[in-house]
Symmetry: C2
Subunit: 229 residues, 2 copies
């Protein structure tokens, strides 16, 4: 059955930068599933109204419509049990949900405070007003003020990566000997700043950067070859 993925895009439709859409894109590649990726922009609510909500990723898999990257990963694991597993069983999935929540709650705020202003520059003019207004309302300040001290923000953010750094002393992937959805969660989080900004989040000699390089090479360089700003 045909699979369609609605993905957040920039003014350049090839620029895909949502951490959640990247999680789904990498999960589809892990499952070896072909899909059509449809670019979607912040203000195109009508295009995904059929999903009953207003955010991407939205996956259309035959008759099934699923939104939310975590729900999509669960759907793919359930619908394609004979393909390589994303979670390695029920315990692996339960623990992965923690890592998903950690990335969202511990990694994303710091990333946003480093690159949110850069996102503005990759959007279509008609999306920029929406983006600035909604994000400035959330942060309670101009985007320029949010990122003004990002040299300090990024130092604190790097410390939050401590658990990842610790496990990489013992295993190549968060999934263990081979990458799984937990790797795609964090790779997705890092794809977001990587695609919209030239600001350096990871120092080159960070073990997390070495792990990221391995991840960028997966699936014939799917994430590594992606267009960046």
């Amino acid at each position: 059955m045909a699979i369609t993925l609605y993905e957040l895009a920039g003014a350049d439709p090839a620029l895909r930068f949502s951490p959640y859409c990247w999680r789904t894109r990498l999960a589809l590649a892990h499952k070896g599933l072909a899909f059509e990726a449809v670019p979607w922009r912040f203000t195109e609510n009508a295009a995904i109204a059929f999903s009953g909500q207003a955010k991407v990723p939205v996956l259309v898999d035959g008759e099934t419509v699923v939104s939310d990257s975590w729900a999509i990963a669960q759907h793919l694991e359930r619908a394609y049990p004979d393909r390589p597993s994303l979670f390695g069983g029920a315990s692996g999935m339960a623990h992965a949900r923690f890592i998903n929540a950690w990335a969202d709650s511990a990694l994303h705020p710091g990333i946003a405070r480093c690159v949110v202003r850069d996102i503005l520059d990759v959007l279509r003019p008609q999306d920029q007003a929406y983006f600035r207004h909604s994000r400035e309302k959330a942060f309670g300040m101009p985007l320029e003020a949010v990122v003004a001290d990002r040299a300090t923000t990024v130092e604190a953010w790097r410390m939050v990566l401590a658990p990842l750094r610790l496990i990489l002393r013992h295993q190549d992937w968060i999934g263990g000997e081979a990458p799984d959805y937990t790797d795609y969660i964090v790779l997705g989080s890092l794809q977001w700043p990587r695609c919209v900004s030239r600001f350096t989040l990871l120092e080159a000699d960070d073990p997390v950067a070495a792990w990221q390089r391995r991840g960028l090479a997966l699936f014939d360089g799917l994430a590594g070859r992606a267009p960046t700003a």
Copy 2:
């Protein structure tokens, strides 16, 4: 075969407060393994010299000696495969290592800065000098200064629990439908302040507190019935 666990104890030998020893204690209960618990104090290096290192937990399982709570959990899983699994497979174990590293690196520093001074009061006089000296050297200040602002410390610490709070909306245990080693990791972390201090780390209406109450009731109240300061 007889199993012996060397556990950190206070002046009261029944007071066991090491987060790492609690992880092991709960793992042994999960596996349904009987064991003899031997109290050990900070300055009793000679008593565990046979393990080739100077920290507890140390597990003696027949001819096998294992130190470090993570290594002990791996040993138990490997040595007792027919008992209930601690990890639910290779992926579950790989992901659990991340949660272990998260607890150690993200939870423990804040807990220490709330209760390290209280620990002093539960130790034997001959251990107090060692404890104060080594910890004040690590913190670079008197223990009283470390905890002076713990009302603020604990507020930041509670925010670090965000990923746990998020997953508890969807599952009762970090392990999913039933508790596993990942639950014992975090329960162990929380058993440490719980046993040495009356300082309140979790607000009563925190979903994490509800999860902790479920954990304290496991194994006939093994952690819940434990002596506290």
